[in-house]
C-alpha cells in the first residue's frame, strides 16, 4: 500500500513549495480560463483566444526590452490586440478570423523585432522558449498577486454581462431587438478574454493558456446540457488537468535514468486533449445510431425538409458539423 502511494506521489510532492505554487497558480488560472473558455467556445472565438496568447507574448517580449513589468506588457498589448480584433473584425465568422489572423501576424512580427533586439543587447538565452512556453514552476509572488487581481477582473466582467452576452451569442437579432448593445457586449467579452489570456500566458505560458482555455470548456459543452453546468464542469476539468499534470510532471523526474523529467505543460495539455477526445465518444456512438435530438422531432424534420419552401432550413441541417 505504501508502495503504491509513493509510486503515485513521489517523495516530497506534498511538501514542495514549488508544487504548492504551481497548483495554486495553475488552479486559479484553470478556473478563470475555464469560465472565459466556455464563452469563447460558444462564440467560436478559439482562434482569438489562442491568438491573444501570442499577442500577449509579444507584449511580454516588448516589456522585457524596455524593462517594464511583464504583467503590463502581457495584459497591455493583449488588450490593444483584442480591441483591434474587435474593431476590424466583421460580423461574419470568416471575416472575423481573418482580422484575428492579421492582428496576430502583426504581433508576431513585433515579437520577432523585440526578441531580435533583446538577444542583440543582452545574451539572454532561452528567452524565446520562456516567452512561448513559460513555466508553471517559475512563478514569483508578483505573478501570483497579478494573477489573482487580473483573474478577478476577468471573472467580474464576464459575470456582469453573462446574460446579454449569451443572448447575443445565441441570436444577435433577438438581442438587438431587446435593446442589448450587442457590439459593446462583444467588445467587453474580448477585453475580458484579453485579460484572462494575458494572465494565463504570463503565469503558465502561451501553450497552456490556450489548452486550459479551450479544452475543458469544449469538453464540458459536449457533455452537459446547459451553459451553467458547462461552467461548473469546465472548472472541474481544468482543475483536474492541472492537479494531475503537476503530479505527473513531478513524478516524471523520478522516471528513467536521465532524471530530466517532462515539462508540466506536456502533461496538462495531454490530459486536456485526451479528455476532449473522450467526450467525443458518446457523440460518435450516437452518430452511428443516426439520431439527432429527440425522436419525435426526427419525423417532423423530414417533413420540413421535403416540404420546405426555402432552402435555408434544409441546408442548415445538412451541413457537416463545423
Amino acid at each position: 500500500m505504501h508502495h503504491v502511494f509513493t509510486a503515485v506521489f513521489e517523495p516530497g510532492f506534498f511538501g514542495s513549495a514549488q508544487v504548492h505554487t504551481a497548483v495554486a497558480v495553475g488552479g486559479l488560472v484553470a478556473i478563470v480560463s475555464a469560465v472565459t473558455g466556455v464563452f469563447t467556445v460558444l462564440r467560436g472565438q478559439s482562434f482569438g483566444g489562442h491568438a491573444l496568447g501570442d499577442v500577449s507574448a509579444a507584449g511580454g517580449a516588448g516589456a522585457l526590452l524596455i524593462g517594464l513589468s511583464p504583467v503590463a506588457g502581457f495584459v497591455g498589448l493583449g488588450i490593444v490586440g483584442a480591441g483591434a480584433m474587435d474593431m476590424i473584425g466583421v460580423r461574419r465568422l470568416r471575416g472575423r478570423d481573418l482580422a484575428t489572423g492579421i492582428v496576430l501576424g502583426s504581433a508576431i512580427g513585433l515579437s520577432a523585432l523585440f526578441l531580435h533586439f533583446t538577444t542583440a543587447t543582452s545574451a539572454t538565452t532561452g528567452s524565446v522558449q520562456q516567452i512561448l512556453f513559460g513555466s508553471i514552476f517559475v512563478t514569483s509572488s508578483d505573478t501570483v498577486l497579478a494573477a489573482v487581481v487580473l483573474g478577478a477582473v476577468a471573472l467580474a466582467s464576464l459575470a456582469a454581462v453573462c446574460r446579454p452576452l449569451l443572448l447575443s451569442t445565441v441570436s444577435p437579432e433577438i438581442a438587438a431587438a431587446r435593446g442589448v448593445p450587442v457590439r459593446l457586449v462583444g467588445l467587453l467579452y474580448m477585453l475580458a478574454l484579453a485579460v484572462s489570456v494575458g494572465l494565463s500566458s504570463l503565469a503558465i505560458g502561451a501553450v497552456l493558456s490556450t489548452a486550459l482555455l479551450i479544452g475543458p470548456a469544449a469538453a464540458a459543452l459536449r457533455v452537459t446540457t446547459s451553459v451553467a453546468w458547462a461552467l461548473v464542469v469546465a472548472c472541474l476539468l481544468g482543475l483536474l488537468a492541472v492537479g494531475l499534470g503537476v503530479l505527473l510532471a513531478y513524478d516524471s523526474y523520478y522516471w528513467g535514468s536521465s532524471h530530466l523529467g517532462l515539462p508540466v505543460s506536456f502533461f496538462i495539455v495531454g490530459i486536456v486533449f485526451v479528455t476532449y477526445l473522450l467526450t467525443g465518444l458518446p457523440a460518435a456512438a450516437r452518430a452511428g445510431a443516426g439520431s439527432r435530438g429527440t425522436a419525435p422531432t426526427l419525423a417532423a424534420a423530414e417533413n420540413d425538409k421535403i416540404a420546405c419552401m426555402s432552402a435555408t432550413g434544409g441546408h442548415r441541417r445538412q451541413r457537416a458539423r463545423t
Binding site: R94, D97, L98, G101, I102, G105, L110, A112, H116, I268
Partner: protein, 275 residues
C-alpha cells in the same frame, strides 16, 4: 543587395515561397481557414525543434509534424467544431515540442530562425528542395482546383455533384502542410501564415474572379516578401517583422479599397417588388 550570393539565394527562395503562399493562401482565405493556416506551421515548428535535437534534418521533422497537424485537424473535424479541434491539435503538438526541447538543457539558436525565418541565411543547396516542394504544391492545387473551389464556395452544391467535401478538406490541409514544410525555413513558422492571409485577403477585396484573385494574391505576396527582404537587408531588422507588418498593411489597403468602392456604388433605382 543583389550582388552577394546569399542575397540571390534569399531573393530566389523568397520568390518561390511567395508564389506558393499566394496560391494556397487564396483558398485559405476563401475557406476561412486562417486558424489551421496558423496552427499547422506552428505545430510543425515543434516537430522541427525535436528533429534538430535528435540530429535529423529539420525538414523531416517539419514535414512529419505538419502532416500530423493536418491529419489531426482534418480527421477530428467531423466530430467537433473546427476552431476547437484546431486549437487542441496545435497545443498538443506544441506540448510534444516542449517535451522534446526539455530533453536537452542547451538552448538551440535554431529555434529563433525556425520561428521567424532566416531567409538571409538560406544556402544554395536548400533551393532545389524548396523549388521542388513548391512545384508539387502548385501542381496539387491545380489538380483539385475545381472541386476545391466549388466546395469552398457552395459546399452543398459540391456534395450534390459528388464532391466529397471531407476528402477535399483533407487534401487542402495536406497541401497547407506541404506549403508549410517548404516555407518554414525561409519565413519561419510563425509568419508563413501572414503571407497566406494578408495578400490573398487584399486580392479578394480587389476582385472576385478566382483566377484573377489568385494572380493578384501572388503579386501582392511577392511585393511583400521582396520589400521585406530589402528592408531587412537595409535596416538589419528581422525579415519577419516586415512580413507581418506589410501583410497587415496590404489587408488594410484591401479593406479600405473595398469600403471606398462601396460608397461609390450606384444605387439601384428600380424598386424590385419580387426577388
Amino acid at each position: 543587395m543583389f550582388a552577394a550570393g546569399f542575397m540571390m539565394n534569399a531573393w530566389i527562395t523568397a520568390t518561390i515561397v511567395a508564389v506558393v503562399a499566394g496560391v494556397v493562401g487564396y483558398f485559405v482565405v476563401l475557406r476561412g481557414a486562417a486558424f489551421p493556416a496558423h496552427a499547422i506551421p506552428k505545430g510543425a515548428f515543434a516537430g522541427a525543434a525535436g528533429a534538430s535535437l535528435l540530429g535529423i534534418n529539420t525538414l523531416i521533422g517539419l514535414a512529419v509534424f505538419s502532416l500530423l497537424g493536418a491529419l489531426g485537424i482534418g480527421s477530428m473535424r467531423r466530430r467537433g467544431r473546427q476552431d476547437v479541434v484546431t486549437a487542441l491539435t496545435l497545443v498538443m503538438m506544441l506540448a510534444l515540442g516542449a517535451a522534446f526541447l526539455s530533453r536537452t538543457t542547451e538552448y538551440e539558436p535554431q529555434i529563433y530562425s525556425l520561428l521567424f525565418g532566416e531567409v538571409l541565411g538560406v544556402s544554395t543547396n536548400q533551393i532545389p528542395p524548396v523549388l521542388l516542394l513548391g512545384i508539387v504544391c502548385i501542381a496539387a492545387v491545380a489538380v483539385i482546383y475545381r472541386p476545391l473551389l466549388l466546395s469552398s464556395i457552395v459546399p452543398e452544391v459540391a456534395e450534390a455533384r459528388g464532391v466529397r467535401s471531407h476528402r477535399v478538406e483533407m487534401c487542402f490541409l495536406v497541401i497547407v502542410a506541404l506549403a508549410t514544410a517548404m516555407t518554414v525555413p525561409v519565413v519561419g513558422a510563425l509568419l508563413i501564415f501572414s503571407l497566406m492571409i494578408g495578400p490573398p485577403a487584399a486580392a479578394r477585396s480587389l476582385t472576385s474572379r478566382p483566377g484573377l484573385a489568385m494572380i493578384a494574391s501572388v503579386v501582392i505576396a511577392l511585393v511583400t516578401v521582396w520589400v521585406a527582404i530589402a528592408a531587412a537587408y537595409l535596416y538589419n531588422w528581422p525579415v519577419g517583422f516586415f512580413v507581418g507588418t506589410l501583410a497587415a498593411l496590404s489587408y488594410g489597403i484591401g479593406r479600405g479599397w473595398a469600403a471606398w468602392r462601396r460608397t461609390r456604388a450606384v444605387p439601384v433605382t428600380t424598386p424590385r417588388l419580387t426577388s
